[in-house]
C-alpha cells in the first residue's frame, strides 16, 4: 500500500494534495474480469467435492453489497472424521513415501496455476472478504503463489534445514484459518505442511470460504493425489472437532488469542505438535528524527491496510512529543484523502468490514474509547449505504489502561499516545500481553537497532510497515502465539527431528 500511495502521488497535481477528498477526482475504475463462481460448493474431501453429512449449508456473503455469493456446505463432526481419514490414507500410501523432489513438483505446479488465474482469484477474494482489489491483486494473491513457489523448493532439501539433524514429516495436519487474508493464510498453512510431507485437513473461516474452494479446484487440476489436501468449510464446532481429532498429529491455527488458548488447552496431554498465530496490538513508534512524511504513510499502511483486519496492525501509535502535533495534523489530512468504498474499484484504499459481527465489535470498542475519555476523530468520507463500512478513525488522549489501547480492535481504529524518551517508548510498547509485531521510524541507525532489539515482538518493521514475504519468518512472542510461519524457520513446526 505504501508503494501504491507513492504511485498515486505522481498522479495528483502538485499544488493541492487534497482535491481527491471523498474520492473526488477519480472516475470509478472497477476491476472487470470474468470469474467462474459456482452457486454452491461442497466440502473437498479425498479429491472430490461432496455434500456435508448433515446436509447443512451456509451463505457466503459479499460484505460490500450484502448479496449472497454462493452456498457452501457446512462441515460437521462426521465430515471432519471423513477428511482426517482421507488425509491419513494419503499420508500413509502416497504423500509420505513420495520422494521430496516429486512432492515439490506438485507444489510448483500449483504455484503456477495460481499465477495463471491470479486476477480471477483476486476478484473473488475482494468480493468474498471486502478487501480492496488493489490489495488482493498486488499483495494477497501474488504472495499466495510466491509462498507455494518458495516451499516447493524446500521439499527435497530438508536435510539442509536443520544442522546436525534429519527431518521427517509428522503425519496429518489440522489447520484452522481466519477471514482476514483467506487464501494467503491457506497458503501459509498448506505450503510448508505439504513440502515437509504431511497431508492436510484445512478449515477456512465461515465468512470467507470461496477462494479456498477455488483452490481446491486448482488442486484437482494440478492432479495432487486425492486426500493430500482436504478443505472443509464450517464454523467453530468443525474447527474444534478437527483440533481434538485423535488422528491429527499437528495443529496449526491463526486467529484470536482467546481461541488460541482454548486450542492449547485442548491439545494438552496429547502428543500433538501445535503452532498458534494469534492476536496483536502492535506499537508503532515515531521518533523526533523520523522522516515524517514517510512515517505518516507508514502509519496509514500500518493501521488501515485491509481495513485494519490485520493481526500485526500498527494499532498503538506512539509519537515523540517534538513531532506529535505535526504527525497528527498530517495524519488527519492523509486520512481525509483515503478512498473508502467499492472493494472492486481500483482506486479504493479501504474496503468493506468483513462481516456485520465484526462491525459491531469495532463499534463497541470505539464506544468504550469515548466512554473512557479518549478523544475521537474520524475522517469525513461518506460511506456507502449498503454493506458494512467503518470510517478511518483515530483516538488521541488515550491511556495505557483504555480498552482501545489494550484490546485488539481488528478494524481501522488507531490509538495515539505520546512519549518523551526512548526508554519510555520501549516500556509503553512492551506494556501488553501481545508481542506479534512493532514499528520504528527514525533516521538514526543506532537507534533503530536499540529499539528493534528492545521491543518484545516477533516481527519489527523499521522505517516501513506491514511487509510480508514467504522467505521471512512471521509469528509472535508472549500471547501472540507460538512458532513461526515463513522462511526456513517455518519448516520446523511441520517436522520431527531425529
Amino acid at each position: 500500500m505504501l508503494q501504491e500511495s507513492k504511485t498515486k502521488k505522481k498522479k495528483k497535481p502538485p499544488t493541492d494534495p487534497h482535491d481527491f477528498v471523498h474520492g473526488a477526482g477519480f472516475a470509478p475504475a472497477p476491476e472487470s474480469i470474468a470469474i467462474r463462481l459456482n452457486k454452491a460448493y461442497g466440502l473437498f474431501i479425498n479429491g472430490r467435492f461432496v455434500k456435508a453429512s448433515t446436509g447443512k449449508t451456509f451463505d457466503s456473503v459479499n460484505p460490500a453489497t450484502e448479496e449472497v455469493l454462493a452456498k457452501v456446505s457446512q462441515a460437521g463432526k462426521a465430515d471432519v472424521n471423513k477428511a482426517v481419514k482421507a488425509a491419513r490414507k494419503a499420508y500413509d500410501e502416497v504423500w509420505g513415501p513420495m520422494p521430496g523432489r516429486e512432492r515439490g513438483k506438485y507444489l510448483f505446479r500449483l504455484a503456477r496455476l495460481i499465477q495463471e488465474r491470479a486476477r480471477e482469484f483476486a476478484v473473488i477474494e475482494s468480493m468474498d472478504g471486502g478487501k480492496p482489489i488493489r490489495e488482493s491483486r498486488d499483495v494477497d494473491i501474488p504472495l499466495v503463489a510466491a509462498h507455494f513457489f518458495y516451499y516447493a523448493g524446500w521439499a527435497d532439501k530438508l536435510d539442509y534445514a536443520f544442522p546436525g539433524r534429519k527431518a521427517r514429516p509428522l503425519g496429518v495436519a489440522g489447520q484452522v484459518i481466519p477471514w482476514n487474508f483467506p487464501l494467503l493464510m491457506a497458503a501459509w498453512k498448506l505450503a510448508p505442511a505439504l513440502a515437509c510431507g504431511n497431508t492436510v485437513v484445512l478449515k477456512p473461516a465461515e465468512t470467507t470460504p470461496l477462494t479456498a474452494m477455488k483452490l481446491a479446484e486448482l488442486i484437482q487440476e494440478a492432479e495432487i493425489p486425492e486426500g493430500v489436501v482436504n478443505i472443509i468449510p464450517g464454523y467453530g464446532d468443525a474447527g474444534a472437532a478437527l483440533v481434538e481429532h485423535p488422528d491429527v498429529d499437528k495443529v496449526a491455527f491463526t486467529g484470536s488469542t482467546e481461541v488460541g488458548k482454548r486450542i492449547q488447552g485442548a491439545v494438552a496431554g496429547t502428543k500433538k505438535k501445535f503452532t498458534l498465530e494469534l492476536g496483536g496490538k502492535a506499537a508503532h513508534l515515531i521518533f523526533n528524527d523520523a522522516p515524517i512524511d514517510q512515517a505518516v504513510e507508514g502509519i496509514v499502511n500500518g493501521i488501515f491496510f485491509n481495513q485494519g483486519h490485520v493481526c500485526c496492525a500498527g494499532s498503538r501509535l506512539f509519537v515523540q512529543e517534538g513531532v506529535a502535533a505535526e504527525v497528527i495534523r498530517k495524519l488527519k489530512r492523509r486520512m481525509e484523502t483515503l478512498v473508502v468504498g467499492d472493494p472492486l474499484d481500483k482506486n479504493t484504499d479501504i474496503g468493506a468490514i468483513n462481516s456485520a459481527e465484526q462491525l459491531e465489535r469495532i463499534k463497541l470498542l470505539v464506544n468504550s474509547g469515548e466512554q473512557e475519555g479518549a478523544c475521537l476523530w474520524q475522517s469525513g468520507q461518506r460511506l456507502p449505504k449498503k454493506g458494512y463500512w467503518y470510517k478511518p478513525t483515530l483516538f488521541t488522549d488515550t491511556a495505557q489502561s483504555h480498552r482501545i489501547v489494550q484490546e485488539e480492535i481488528f478494524g481501522p481504529v488507531l490509538a495515539i499516545q505520546t512519549f518523551r524518551t526512548v526508554k519510555e517508548a520501549i516500556t509503553k510498547a512492551n506494556n501488553t500481553p501481545y508481542g506479534l509485531s512493532g514499528g520504528v521510524w527514525t533516521d538514526k541507525g543506532s537507534k533503530i537497532f536499540k529499539v528493534t532489539h528492545a521491543i518484545r515482538a516477533g516481527v519489527i518493521w523499521a522505517n516501513t510497515f506491514n511487509k510480508f514475504d514467504p522467505t521471512s519468518p512471521f509469528g509472535g512472542y508472549k500471547e501472540s502465539g507460538v512458532g513461526r510461519e515463513g522462511g526456513l524457520q517455518g519448516l520446523a513446526p511441520y517436522v520431527e527431528l531425529y
Binding site: L278, T464, S472
Partner: protein, 280 residues
C-alpha cells in the same frame, strides 16, 4: 577426643542470596544408614513467587550481556564446579550413589557446562537467517530469549540432571527458577554456592528444594513465567503443565533426560524478524 565436624545448613538460592524458606518448613534427608544428612527447605509457593521476581529482574541484564561474556561465565561455572568436585562427590555418595557413579556425574556436569559455554556465542549464527525477500528490504531473523523459565529438574540425578537442565536455558539469555530433585537435593544447594562465586548475576539462576507435587500447580500457572521445562515421565504432571501453559501461551519443553544438544537452547528462544528498506 576427636574434633566435632561442622555441618552445613542447606537453604534455598534466590536472587543471589541464600534464604531459608519463608514457610519455615523442612524435610529430612538421610544417608543409606539412616543418619540425618540435612533438614532441607520445603520450598513454598511464596518462595517460588519471590524467585520469579528475582529472575525477572535479572533477565533483562543477562540477555543484554554479550554472548562472549555469557560464554565465559558458563565456563567459569565449570571451573568452579571442577574445583568443588570432591565435595559434590561426597554429597552424592552420602545420598546413595556409588563412588564411581558419583565421580561420573560430577564430571558429566562439568563437561555439560563447557559444552553449552561454547554454544553461547554460536547458536545465534547457526540458527539465524538473512532472508532474501522479493522487495527492496534488508530482512533478517535471529533468536532472542523467551524470558523467565521454570524448570523441574530430573529426579534421578542430583547434579548432572540439574546442570544439564539449567545450562541450555541460561545459555540463550533466559533466567530460571529451578526445582531440584526432591530426594537428591543436597548437590543443588552446593551448586548454588558455586553459581554464587562464578560471576553469574544473582537472580539468573534460582534454586528451590521441595515437593514437585506441591509446587507443580503454582510453577506451571504463574503468569510472569514464559516457559516451563519438565524432566520426567509423569503423564498427569505433563498434562497439568501443558494445560496451564494455555493461560498465557507459555512455551513448554518436556524431556525424559538432559542432553547436549543446541536444539535444547532453541526450545526457549523466540525468532525475531526485522525489516528495513534498502535505498538512498
Amino acid at each position: 577426643m576427636s574434633r566435632v565436624a561442622v555441618r552445613k545448613t542447606y537453604k534455598l538460592y534466590i536472587g543471589g542470596k541464600f534464604p531459608r524458606t519463608e514457610s519455615g518448613r523442612y524435610y529430612p534427608l538421610y544417608d543409606p544408614e539412616g543418619k540425618l544428612l540435612a533438614n532441607v527447605c520445603q520450598g513454598s509457593r511464596k518462595d517460588f513467587r519471590n524467585a520469579v521476581v528475582a529472575a525477572r529482574k535479572a533477565q533483562v541484564g543477562w540477555s543484554a550481556a554479550t554472548a562472549y561474556l555469557r560464554s565465559q561465565i558458563l565456563y567459569r561455572i565449570a571451573e568452579m564446579l571442577e574445583g568443588r568436585a570432591g565435595q559434590l562427590r561426597d554429597e552424592l555418595v552420602s545420598l546413595g550413589s556409588t563412588p564411581r557413579s558419583a565421580e561420573k556425574e560430577v564430571m558429566t556436569a562439568v563437561d555439560t557446562l563447557v559444552y553449552f559455554a561454547g554454544w553461547a556465542d554460536k547458536y545465534s549464527q547457526v540458527f539465524s537467517t538473512v532472508n532474501p525477500v522479493a522487495s527492496s528490504h534488508f530482512n533478517f531473523s535471529m533468536p532472542e530469549p523467551t524470558g523467565v523459565i521454570a524448570i523441574f529438574a530430573p529426579q534421578e540425578t542430583g547434579l548432572s540432571g540439574l546442570v544439564g537442565a539449567i545450562a541450555p536455558v541460561i545459555c540463550g539469555g533466559n533466567s530460571c527458577v529451578t526445582l531440584a530433585s526432591e530426594t537428591r537435593a543436597l548437590p543443588a544447594i552446593t551448586f548454588g554456592e558455586i553459581l554464587n562465586s562464578s560471576d553469574v548475576p544473582g537472580g539468573v539462576v534460582n534454586l528451590l528444594t521441595g515437593s514437585v507435587e506441591e509446587l507443580l500447580p503454582h510453577m506451571s500457572s504463574h503468569m510472569d513465567v514464559n516457559g516451563v521445562a519438565y524432566y520426567g515421565e509423569d503423564a498427569q504432571a505433563i498434562q497439568v503443565i501443558q494445560a496451564n501453559a494455555a493461560l498465557n501461551i507459555r512455551r513448554v519443553g518436556i524431556y525424559d533426560t538432559v542432553k547436549e544438544d543446541p536444539y535444547r537452547i532453541m526450545t526457549f528462544m523466540e525468532t525475531k524478524t526485522t525489516w528495513h528498506p534498502v535505498g538512498v
